[in-house]
Protein backbone atom coordinates (compact mmCIF):
# COMPACT_ATOMS: atom_id res chain seq x y z
CA UNK A 1 0.00 0.00 0.00
CA UNK A 2 2.86 2.35 0.82
CA UNK A 3 4.49 1.55 -2.53
CA UNK A 4 1.31 2.63 -4.32
CA UNK A 5 1.23 5.81 -2.28
CA UNK A 6 4.85 6.58 -3.09
CA UNK A 7 4.41 6.07 -6.81
CA UNK A 8 1.26 8.17 -7.14
CA UNK A 9 2.95 11.20 -8.72
CA UNK A 10 0.07 13.67 -8.55
CA UNK A 11 -0.65 12.82 -4.92
CA UNK A 12 3.02 13.10 -4.07
CA UNK A 13 3.20 16.61 -5.54
CA UNK A 14 0.36 17.53 -3.20
CA UNK A 15 2.03 15.89 -0.20
CA UNK A 16 5.31 17.66 -0.96
CA UNK A 17 3.48 20.97 -1.11
CA UNK A 18 1.73 20.33 2.20
CA UNK A 19 4.92 19.24 3.93
CA UNK A 20 6.55 22.38 2.57
CA UNK A 21 3.81 24.62 3.90
CA UNK A 22 4.17 23.11 7.36
CA UNK A 23 7.97 23.33 7.14
CA UNK A 24 7.85 26.98 6.08
CA UNK A 25 5.32 27.76 8.79
CA UNK A 26 7.55 26.18 11.44
CA UNK A 27 10.69 27.89 10.16
CA UNK A 28 9.02 31.30 10.23
CA UNK A 29 7.47 30.68 13.65
CA UNK A 30 10.89 29.66 14.91
CA UNK A 31 12.39 32.93 13.72
CA UNK A 32 14.98 31.34 11.44
CA UNK A 33 13.68 32.98 8.28
CA UNK A 34 15.15 36.18 9.64
CA UNK A 35 18.58 37.41 8.53
CA UNK A 36 19.21 38.72 12.05
CA UNK A 37 18.66 35.31 13.64
CA UNK A 38 20.86 33.44 11.16
CA UNK A 39 23.69 35.95 11.37
CA UNK A 40 23.25 35.91 15.15
CA UNK A 41 23.93 32.18 15.06
CA UNK A 42 27.01 32.55 12.87
CA UNK A 43 28.29 35.23 15.21
CA UNK A 44 27.55 32.82 18.07
CA UNK A 45 25.36 35.28 19.95
CA UNK A 46 21.99 33.64 19.23
CA UNK A 47 21.73 29.88 19.19
CA UNK A 48 18.16 29.63 17.87
CA UNK A 49 19.28 28.00 14.62
CA UNK A 50 21.36 25.31 16.34
CA UNK A 51 18.65 24.69 18.94
CA UNK A 52 16.12 24.05 16.20
CA UNK A 53 18.45 21.95 14.07
CA UNK A 54 19.65 19.75 16.93
CA UNK A 55 16.15 19.23 18.31
CA UNK A 56 14.91 18.33 14.84
CA UNK A 57 17.86 16.00 14.41
CA UNK A 58 17.28 13.97 17.57
CA UNK A 59 13.51 13.89 17.10
CA UNK A 60 13.84 12.75 13.52
CA UNK A 61 16.71 10.41 14.31
CA UNK A 62 14.65 8.50 16.84
CA UNK A 63 11.46 8.61 14.79
CA UNK A 64 12.96 7.63 11.45
CA UNK A 65 15.08 4.82 12.87
CA UNK A 66 12.07 3.50 14.79
CA UNK A 67 10.08 3.49 11.55
CA UNK A 68 13.03 1.89 9.78
CA UNK A 69 13.29 -0.87 12.38
CA UNK A 70 9.58 -1.50 11.85
CA UNK A 71 10.22 -1.75 8.12
CA UNK A 72 8.00 1.25 7.38
CA UNK A 73 10.63 3.55 5.88
CA UNK A 74 13.84 3.34 3.93
CA UNK A 75 16.86 5.43 4.72
CA UNK A 76 18.38 7.58 1.98
CA UNK A 77 21.77 8.79 3.21
CA UNK A 78 23.49 11.07 0.74
CA UNK A 79 26.80 9.95 -0.76
CA UNK A 80 29.83 12.10 -0.16
CA UNK A 81 33.49 12.67 -0.80
CA UNK A 82 36.13 14.96 0.60
CA UNK A 83 36.22 16.83 -2.70
CA UNK A 84 32.50 17.47 -2.81
CA UNK A 85 31.33 17.49 0.80
CA UNK A 86 34.18 19.42 2.43
CA UNK A 87 34.88 21.94 -0.30
CA UNK A 88 31.22 22.39 -1.16
CA UNK A 89 30.39 22.72 2.50
CA UNK A 90 32.93 25.47 3.05
CA UNK A 91 31.75 27.34 -0.04
CA UNK A 92 28.18 26.99 1.22
CA UNK A 93 29.26 28.39 4.58
CA UNK A 94 30.75 31.49 2.98
CA UNK A 95 27.60 32.08 0.95
CA UNK A 96 25.48 31.40 4.02
CA UNK A 97 27.18 34.21 5.94
CA UNK A 98 27.29 36.67 3.05
CA UNK A 99 23.64 36.15 2.09
CA UNK A 100 22.35 35.46 5.58
CA UNK A 101 19.87 32.80 4.48
CA UNK A 102 20.10 29.18 3.41
CA UNK A 103 18.00 27.79 0.51
CA UNK A 104 15.09 26.70 2.71
CA UNK A 105 14.95 29.76 4.95
CA UNK A 106 15.32 31.93 1.84
CA UNK A 107 12.01 30.66 0.53
CA UNK A 108 10.47 31.37 3.92
CA UNK A 109 12.08 34.80 4.06
CA UNK A 110 10.56 35.70 0.70
CA UNK A 111 7.22 34.68 2.19
CA UNK A 112 7.64 37.03 5.13
CA UNK A 113 8.45 40.01 2.89
CA UNK A 114 12.25 40.11 2.88
CA UNK A 115 13.02 41.80 -0.44
CA UNK A 116 16.76 41.18 -0.20
CA UNK A 117 15.91 37.49 -0.16
CA UNK A 118 13.62 37.80 -3.16
CA UNK A 119 15.61 40.06 -5.46
CA UNK A 120 19.12 39.32 -4.22
CA UNK A 121 19.26 35.86 -2.70
CA UNK A 122 16.83 34.06 -4.97
CA UNK A 123 18.39 35.43 -8.15
CA UNK A 124 21.82 34.61 -6.74
CA UNK A 125 21.05 31.01 -5.84
CA UNK A 126 19.52 30.35 -9.24
CA UNK A 127 22.60 31.85 -10.90
CA UNK A 128 24.96 29.90 -8.66
CA UNK A 129 23.18 26.62 -9.22
CA UNK A 130 23.22 27.31 -12.95
CA UNK A 131 26.93 28.09 -12.90
CA UNK A 132 27.58 24.85 -11.05
CA UNK A 133 25.68 22.89 -13.68
CA UNK A 134 27.94 24.45 -16.33
CA UNK A 135 31.13 23.43 -14.59
CA UNK A 136 29.81 20.11 -13.33
CA UNK A 137 31.33 17.85 -16.01
CA UNK A 138 34.82 19.23 -15.38
CA UNK A 139 34.39 19.16 -11.61
CA UNK A 140 32.95 15.68 -11.71
CA UNK A 141 36.00 14.35 -13.56
CA UNK A 142 38.30 15.98 -11.05
CA UNK A 143 37.76 17.18 -7.56
CA UNK A 144 34.23 16.00 -6.83
CA UNK A 145 35.30 12.37 -6.73
CA UNK A 146 38.39 12.82 -4.58
CA UNK A 147 38.18 10.98 -1.28
CA UNK A 148 34.90 9.31 -2.11
CA UNK A 149 33.27 7.52 0.80
CA UNK A 150 29.89 6.82 -0.76
CA UNK A 151 26.66 6.58 1.26
CA UNK A 152 28.50 5.87 4.47
CA UNK A 153 26.63 6.09 7.75
CA UNK A 154 28.12 6.11 11.21
CA UNK A 155 26.51 2.77 12.19
CA UNK A 156 27.95 1.16 9.06
CA UNK A 157 31.36 2.68 9.67
CA UNK A 158 31.56 1.47 13.25
CA UNK A 159 29.69 -1.73 12.42
CA UNK A 160 27.13 -1.20 15.16
CA UNK A 161 23.38 -1.15 15.51
CA UNK A 162 22.17 2.45 14.99
CA UNK A 163 20.62 2.58 18.44
CA UNK A 164 24.07 2.11 19.96
CA UNK A 165 24.82 5.57 18.61
CA UNK A 166 21.37 7.17 18.76
CA UNK A 167 20.96 6.85 22.52
CA UNK A 168 24.27 8.42 23.61
CA UNK A 169 23.95 11.03 20.86
CA UNK A 170 20.52 12.06 22.09
CA UNK A 171 21.79 12.32 25.65
CA UNK A 172 24.81 14.32 24.50
CA UNK A 173 22.69 16.72 22.45
CA UNK A 174 20.26 17.24 25.34
CA UNK A 175 23.14 18.02 27.69
CA UNK A 176 24.56 20.48 25.14
CA UNK A 177 21.18 22.17 24.65
CA UNK A 178 20.72 22.42 28.40
CA UNK A 179 24.12 24.07 28.70
CA UNK A 180 23.38 26.49 25.86
CA UNK A 181 20.07 27.38 27.46
CA UNK A 182 21.70 27.93 30.85
CA UNK A 183 24.33 30.16 29.26
CA UNK A 184 21.57 32.42 27.98
CA UNK A 185 22.53 31.85 24.36
Amino acid sequence: MLKQLHSNEKLQLGIGFLVGILFGFLLQKGGVTKYDVIIGQLLLTDFTVVKIMLTAMITGMIGVHLLSTLGLVQLHPKPGSLGSTVIGGLIFGVGFAVLGYCPGTLAGAVGQGSLDALFGGLAGILLGAGLFSEFYPKLQRGILGRGDFGELTWPRLFKVNPWTLIIPLTIGVLIFLFWVEKSGL
Binding site: G20, I21, L27, F92, V98, G120, A129, P137
Partner: protein, 163 residues
Protein backbone atom coordinates in the same frame (compact mmCIF):
# COMPACT_ATOMS: atom_id res chain seq x y z
CA UNK B 1 6.87 38.85 19.07
CA UNK B 2 4.91 35.66 18.55
CA UNK B 3 7.90 33.37 18.26
CA UNK B 4 7.60 29.71 19.18
CA UNK B 5 10.12 27.90 21.35
CA UNK B 6 12.97 26.58 19.18
CA UNK B 7 12.50 23.21 20.85
CA UNK B 8 8.84 23.04 19.84
CA UNK B 9 9.77 24.03 16.30
CA UNK B 10 12.59 21.49 16.25
CA UNK B 11 10.32 18.68 17.40
CA UNK B 12 7.81 19.74 14.78
CA UNK B 13 10.42 19.64 12.02
CA UNK B 14 11.72 16.29 13.26
CA UNK B 15 8.22 14.81 13.16
CA UNK B 16 7.66 16.36 9.74
CA UNK B 17 10.80 14.57 8.56
CA UNK B 18 9.32 11.26 9.71
CA UNK B 19 6.11 12.07 7.85
CA UNK B 20 8.06 12.84 4.68
CA UNK B 21 9.95 9.56 4.89
CA UNK B 22 6.76 7.61 5.56
CA UNK B 23 4.36 9.21 3.10
CA UNK B 24 6.81 10.12 0.35
CA UNK B 25 9.90 7.97 0.85
CA UNK B 26 11.86 11.21 0.68
CA UNK B 27 14.09 13.17 3.05
CA UNK B 28 13.27 16.87 3.35
CA UNK B 29 15.71 18.92 1.28
CA UNK B 30 15.67 22.29 -0.47
CA UNK B 31 18.60 23.00 -2.75
CA UNK B 32 17.63 20.60 -5.55
CA UNK B 33 14.52 22.68 -6.22
CA UNK B 34 16.74 25.66 -7.02
CA UNK B 35 18.84 23.58 -9.40
CA UNK B 36 15.76 22.42 -11.25
CA UNK B 37 14.31 25.93 -11.41
CA UNK B 38 17.60 27.27 -12.71
CA UNK B 39 17.50 24.62 -15.40
CA UNK B 40 13.92 25.48 -16.31
CA UNK B 41 14.83 29.16 -16.65
CA UNK B 42 17.91 28.32 -18.71
CA UNK B 43 15.69 26.20 -20.95
CA UNK B 44 13.55 29.27 -21.65
CA UNK B 45 16.62 30.93 -23.13
CA UNK B 46 18.55 28.04 -24.64
CA UNK B 47 15.85 25.52 -25.43
CA UNK B 48 16.05 21.75 -25.37
CA UNK B 49 19.84 21.57 -25.40
CA UNK B 50 19.71 22.25 -21.67
CA UNK B 51 18.26 18.81 -20.99
CA UNK B 52 21.42 17.29 -22.48
CA UNK B 53 23.68 18.82 -19.84
CA UNK B 54 25.15 16.14 -17.63
CA UNK B 55 23.91 17.79 -14.45
CA UNK B 56 20.37 18.10 -15.74
CA UNK B 57 20.39 14.46 -16.69
CA UNK B 58 20.94 13.83 -12.98
CA UNK B 59 18.49 16.49 -11.82
CA UNK B 60 15.89 17.09 -14.50
CA UNK B 61 14.65 20.67 -14.86
CA UNK B 62 11.10 19.82 -13.91
CA UNK B 63 8.61 20.23 -11.11
CA UNK B 64 8.66 17.38 -8.65
CA UNK B 65 8.30 16.65 -4.93
CA UNK B 66 11.17 18.80 -3.73
CA UNK B 67 10.14 21.69 -5.95
CA UNK B 68 6.64 21.59 -4.45
CA UNK B 69 8.25 21.45 -0.99
CA UNK B 70 10.12 24.72 -1.53
CA UNK B 71 7.04 26.34 -3.10
CA UNK B 72 5.21 25.24 0.06
CA UNK B 73 7.88 26.77 2.30
CA UNK B 74 7.24 30.13 0.65
CA UNK B 75 3.49 29.80 1.29
CA UNK B 76 3.97 28.50 4.83
CA UNK B 77 6.32 31.35 5.67
CA UNK B 78 3.80 33.81 4.26
CA UNK B 79 0.90 32.37 6.24
CA UNK B 80 2.88 32.30 9.46
CA UNK B 81 4.09 35.87 9.01
CA UNK B 82 0.59 37.09 8.21
CA UNK B 83 -0.97 35.32 11.19
CA UNK B 84 1.48 36.89 13.62
CA UNK B 85 1.41 40.29 11.95
CA UNK B 86 5.09 40.01 11.12
CA UNK B 87 4.72 40.27 7.36
CA UNK B 88 6.44 43.37 6.12
CA UNK B 89 8.46 44.22 3.06
CA UNK B 90 11.99 45.01 4.00
CA UNK B 91 15.05 45.77 1.87
CA UNK B 92 17.64 45.86 4.62
CA UNK B 93 17.63 43.63 7.72
CA UNK B 94 18.28 45.31 11.07
CA UNK B 95 21.62 43.60 11.73
CA UNK B 96 22.94 44.74 8.36
CA UNK B 97 21.63 48.27 8.86
CA UNK B 98 23.25 48.68 12.24
CA UNK B 99 26.67 47.80 10.82
CA UNK B 100 26.48 49.24 7.34
CA UNK B 101 23.64 51.70 7.46
CA UNK B 102 20.40 51.60 5.51
CA UNK B 103 21.98 50.82 2.14
CA UNK B 104 19.49 48.83 0.00
CA UNK B 105 21.68 48.70 -3.10
CA UNK B 106 24.76 47.33 -1.42
CA UNK B 107 22.59 44.93 0.59
CA UNK B 108 21.02 43.73 -2.66
CA UNK B 109 24.44 43.33 -4.29
CA UNK B 110 25.76 41.45 -1.26
CA UNK B 111 22.70 39.21 -1.15
CA UNK B 112 23.10 38.47 -4.85
CA UNK B 113 26.78 37.62 -4.40
CA UNK B 114 26.06 35.53 -1.32
CA UNK B 115 23.29 33.76 -3.16
CA UNK B 116 25.58 32.86 -6.05
CA UNK B 117 28.17 31.43 -3.66
CA UNK B 118 25.44 29.61 -1.72
CA UNK B 119 23.99 28.11 -4.89
CA UNK B 120 27.39 26.85 -5.99
CA UNK B 121 28.22 25.53 -2.53
CA UNK B 122 24.92 23.76 -1.98
CA UNK B 123 25.13 21.80 -5.21
CA UNK B 124 28.86 21.20 -4.78
CA UNK B 125 28.20 19.72 -1.34
CA UNK B 126 25.16 17.84 -2.58
CA UNK B 127 22.75 19.43 -0.15
CA UNK B 128 21.95 22.30 2.19
CA UNK B 129 21.10 22.86 5.85
CA UNK B 130 17.81 21.03 5.30
CA UNK B 131 18.96 18.12 3.17
CA UNK B 132 22.25 17.58 4.93
CA UNK B 133 21.73 19.54 8.13
CA UNK B 134 18.46 17.99 9.19
CA UNK B 135 17.61 15.00 7.02
CA UNK B 136 21.16 13.78 6.62
CA UNK B 137 22.28 14.15 10.21
CA UNK B 138 19.21 12.35 11.53
CA UNK B 139 20.04 9.45 9.23
CA UNK B 140 23.53 9.41 10.73
CA UNK B 141 25.03 9.97 7.28
CA UNK B 142 28.76 10.73 7.42
CA UNK B 143 28.46 13.05 4.40
CA UNK B 144 25.87 15.17 6.17
CA UNK B 145 27.69 15.48 9.47
CA UNK B 146 30.81 16.49 7.56
CA UNK B 147 28.81 18.94 5.44
CA UNK B 148 27.18 20.62 8.44
CA UNK B 149 30.54 20.92 10.15
CA UNK B 150 31.92 22.68 7.06
CA UNK B 151 28.78 24.85 6.66
CA UNK B 152 29.35 26.25 10.12
CA UNK B 153 33.13 26.57 9.93
CA UNK B 154 32.80 28.50 6.68
CA UNK B 155 29.81 30.46 7.89
CA UNK B 156 31.14 31.43 11.28
CA UNK B 157 34.55 32.46 9.94
CA UNK B 158 32.96 34.55 7.19
CA UNK B 159 30.41 36.18 9.49
CA UNK B 160 33.12 37.11 11.97
CA UNK B 161 35.13 38.70 9.17
CA UNK B 162 32.16 40.61 7.78
CA UNK B 163 30.99 41.90 11.12
Amino acid sequence: MERWSPYAVGIGIGLLSCVAFFLSDKPIGCSTAFSRTSGMIERLFRGGVVAEKAYYKKFAPSIEWEWMLVAGIFIGGFISAQLSGQFHMEWVPATWASSFGYTPISRWATALTGGIILGIGARWAGGCTSGHGISGTLQLAVSSWLAVFCFFIGGIATAMIIF
